[in-house]
C-alpha cells in the first residue's frame, strides 16, 4: 500500500494541547496541495470503542463489509461505556413481557420527548427505540448477562423498562462485544489517537492517526495515514472531560466540578469534524448531576447513597453548620445551592449529607460506601463536628431544629416535603457532596441514517457517519437515564444499513 498515492488537500487539525503535525514524505504536489502517502487502507474505520463503536463494528462486519478497523486512543477499550452503570432501557424486554407490562418504543419516545423539553428529535429517538430489542439481543447473544427478573423504573421514565447488567456496569457489555468483534475479524487497535480527517472536498477519505499514542502525551507515537474506502464512523463519545470546552459552552460549569467520565471523553474528534464543516448542535447542553461526591472517582456510590439521604437525612454546610437547601428539590436548584458553598478563596466547602446508620446497617448502598471510604460512620455529633471542622454546638442545634420539623412534618426553612424524613440521631452515615459533569446532549447533527450533516449546505457529508454520545440534537434538554446505552448500541444497527445502501449506489 505504501506506494499508493493520491493528490489531496490537508485539513486543519484540531488537537487538544496541539502538536506540530509531522508530515510524512510527500510526493509531488499539484494544485490541490501536497500528496498523501497512505500507510494502509480499509473499507470502514470506526473511531472509538464504546457501545457505539463496538456495535457499529460488529454490525458493519456482519453486513458483509470486509475490512473494518476500530481505532481507540486509550490503553483500554470501552470508553465511558466500560465504566457506565449498566442501565439499559429496552421497551418490550422479556421481563416486561413475563410480567405483563405493556410498553413500546413509542411510549419510551414519549417519555424522552417530555424530558427533552421541546428540543429532542422525535424521529431520531424513534429510529433508535425501534432497535432496542435488536440491541438487547445482540448483547445476550454476545454473552452479556443481565440481572435475573430485574426491570426497573428509573428517573424520568413513566414505566419500568430498564434492565441492568449483572455486575452493574456497561463493561459487561463492552468486554463481551469486544471479544465478539475480534472473533468475527474486526481489527481493533488501542493507542491510536485520531488527529485529523483527510478530506477530498466534502468527502472524508481517510484519517491522520497517531499510532502507539501514549495517553495523554500528544508527542508520543508516530503519525500514519489510513485510508477509508467506504467511510468513517465517529463513535468518540462526549466531551465532558474537556474542561476548557465545557467552560466555553456553559459558563455555569466551573472548574471545581469533577466529572464522572473516563479521561478520554475530551471530544477532539467532534471538533475536528466541525473544522471540516460538520454541523454541531446543542453543544451547550451538558448534563450535570448534583449527586456527586468529591471522595470517589467516576459515578461512584454517591448517587445511590444519597437516594437515602435526600429522603431520610439532612444536608449541612460546613461553613456555618446549618441546612441550606430543600434536599428533595430538583437537580438544578440543588446544584446551585451546593455550589454556593465556598471558602473565602472560592475553593469548595463540600457540604455534608447524613442519615441514621442504624436504619440501614446492612444496606449494600451503605456497606460499600463505608468500605470504600467515600462515606464515614460517625458515632456522635461531636465526632462529626471535629472531622468536618464545624462548631459542634451549631451542628447540634441544626439537628435539633430539623428534628422538630420532622416531628411537625413541615419544613418552614426550605419547604421540603417531609413525608419520608426521619428523626436523626447518631451514629450517622456521612458523605460529602459536590456536583459533577456527566453527559453531553450536544454533538454532531446526523440525518436519520447516522450521516453527519454538513454546515455548508445542510446536506450529509460524504462517507462521514456518527453514532452514540458524539451525536447531538437527539435527546434535547435532558437525556433520560438508561437511554445512552440504548442509543450507542442501536446506532450500530442503523449505521450498518446506511453504509451498505450508500455503497450500493
Amino acid at each position: 500500500m505504501r506506494d499508493r498515492r493520491s493528490f489531496l488537500k490537508f485539513g486543519a487539525g484540531v488537537a487538544i494541547g496541539s502538536v506540530a503535525a509531522t508530515i510524512p514524505a510527500m510526493a509531488s504536489t499539484n494544485d490541490c496541495g501536497p500528496a498523501i502517502k497512505w500507510d494502509e487502507t480499509h473499507d470502514i474505520i470506526i473511531i472509538g470503542s464504546g457501545f457505539g463503536g463496538l456495535s457499529s463494528a460488529i454490525n458493519i462486519k456482519r453486513s458483509g463489509i470486509k475490512s473494518v478497523l476500530v481505532l481507540e486512543k486509550m490503553l483500554q477499550f470501552g470508553g465511558n461505556s466500560a465504566i457506565n452503570g449498566g442501565w439499559f432501557a429496552v421497551p418490550g424486554n422479556p421481563i416486561q413481557v413475563s410480567e405483563g407490562v405493556k410498553d413500546s418504543p413509542a411510549l419510551l419516545v414519549q417519555d424522552q420527548i417530555a424530558a427533552g423539553r421541546g428540543m429532542a428529535s422525535e424521529e431520531h429517538l424513534t429510529a433508535i427505540a425501534n432497535r432496542a430489542l435488536d440491541a438487547f439481543n445482540l448483547c445476550v447473544d454476545s454473552g452479556v448477562r443481565f440481572r435475573e427478573g430485574f426491570n426497573m423504573l428509573v428517573g424520568g421514565h413513566s414505566i419500568a423498562r430498564a434492565v441492568r447488567t449483572v455486575d452493574g456496569t456497561g463493561g459487561e457489555i463492552t468486554r463481551n462485544l469486544y471479544k465478539v468483534a475480534k472473533s468475527e475479524g474486526v481489527d481493533l487497535r488501542n493507542q491510536q489517537y485520531v488527529e485529523d480527517f483527510i478530506m477530498e472536498n466534502n468527502k472524508v477519505i481517510g484519517l491522520k492517526v497517531r499510532r502507539n499514542f501514549r495517553y495523554p502525551d500528544l508527542t508520543t507515537g508516530e503519525i500514519v495515514f489510513i485510508k477509508a474506502n467506504k467511510g468513517v464512523v465517529v463513535a468518540t463519545g462526549g466531551f465532558a472531560m474537556n474542561k476548557q470546552l465545557c467552560k466555553l459552552l456553559d459558563p455555569s460549569i466551573d472548574p471545581t466540578m469533577d466529572c464522572t467520565n473516563a479521561k478520554g471523553a475530551t471530544g477532539e474528534v467532534t471538533l475536528t469534524a466541525m473544522s471540516h464543516g460538520a454541523l454541531a448542535v446543542h453543544m451547550n447542553m451538558i448534563q450535570t448531576g448534583h449527586w456527586g461526591s468529591p471522595d470517589e472517582g467516576g459515578f461512584g456510590w454517591s448517587n445511590a447513597l444519597l437516594s437515602i439521604t435526600w429522603h431520610e437525612g439532612m444536608v449541612v454546610s460546613v461553613l456555618n453548620g446549618k441546612r441550606f437547601m430543600n434536599e428533595r428539590a430538583d437537580r438544578k436548584y440543588c446544584s446551585d445551592r451546593i455550589l454556593a458553598n465556598r471558602y473565602e478563596d472560592n475553593s469548595p466547602a463540600y457540604p455534608i449529607a447524613f442519615f441514621n446508620y442504624n436504619d440501614h446497617p446492612d444496606d449494600d448502598r451503605v456497606v460499600r460506601a463505608l468500605r470504600d471510604e467515600m462515606a464515614w460512620k460517625m458515632d456522635s455529633v461531636e465526632q462529626m463536628a471535629t472531622k468536618f471542622n464545624i462548631d459542634p454546638k451549631t451542628l447540634q442545634e441544626s439537628i435539633d431544629l430539623h428534628n422538630k420539623h420532622v416531628a411537625e412534618r413541615k419544613d418552614p426553612l426550605f419547604d421540603r416535603v417531609m413525608d419520608t424524613a426521619k428523626h436523626l440521631a447518631p451514629p450517622f452515615v456521612v458523605s460529602r457532596i459536590w456536583p459533577k459533569v456527566h453527559y453531553c446532549m450536544g454533538g454532531l447533527k446526523t440525518d436519520l441514517g447516522c450521516r453527519v450533516i454538513g454546515s455548508k449546505n445542510l446536506e450529509p457529508m460524504k462517507n462521514l457517519y456518527a453514532v452514540g454520545e458524539a451525536t447531538g440534537g437527539v435527546h434535547g434538554t435532558t437525556r433520560l437515564s438508561s437511554c445512552a446505552c440504548l442509543e450507542g448500541l442501536a446506532g450500530g444497527f442503523i449505521v450498518a444499513e446506511t453504509i451498505n445502501s450508500d455503497n450500493k449506489v
Binding site: 470501552g78 466500560a82 463493561g171 471522595d295
Partner: protein, 123 residues
C-alpha cells in the same frame, strides 16, 4: 542501592499479586524494575520495549515474556475485596493493555484507582 544480581534468576515466573518488582536505578539514572535488570545489560535495552521512538511503547514486550492478562492470576488474598481483581475486571477483562496499570520506570496506581480510589496503591 546495589541489589544482588540474583534477582535476575527470579524474573519471569515471579509475578506476584498486586505488587510489582522493586523500582531501582538500572542504567545510569534510569529507574527500572529489579526483575528486569537483565534487560538493561543489553546495549539495545531500550529497543526491547520502545520499538518506535523513546517516548512511546505498547505492551507487546510484556505479553511476549509474561503472557496475556487472563493467564496471569492474582492471589485473591492480596485483594481488598473480591471485586478488586484487575486481571479479571468486569469493565475490561482482556480489552486492556498491561501498561494501563503497570509502569516500568515509575511508580503508578492502576487505572482502576481513577474511580476506586481506596482499592489500590501505587506499585
Amino acid at each position: 542501592m546495589f541489589k544482588s544480581l540474583l534477582a535476575l534468576a527470579l524474573s519471569l515466573t515471579l509475578c506476584s499479586a498486586i505488587s510489582a518488582s522493586e523500582l531501582i536505578e538500572v542504567k545510569g539514572k534510569t529507574l527500572g524494575r529489579e526483575n528486569h535488570q537483565f534487560i538493561y545489560k543489553d546495549k539495545n535495552a531500550c529497543k526491547s520495549c520502545h520499538v518506535s521512538g523513546k517516548k512511546s511503547t505498547t505492551d507487546q514486550a510484556c505479553v511476549d515474556c509474561h503472557g496475556t492478562i487472563d493467564t496471569i492470576k492474582i492471589d485473591p488474598k492480596n485483594l481488598v475485596n473480591s471485586h478488586a481483581n484487575p486481571h479479571a475486571s468486569v469493565h475490561y477483562d482482556t480489552a486492556i493493555s498491561c501498561i494501563a496499570c503497570h509502569a516500568e520506570h515509575e511508580k503508578k496506581a492502576p487505572l482502576c484507582a481513577e474511580c476506586h480510589r481506596s482499592w489500590f496503591k501505587e506499585m
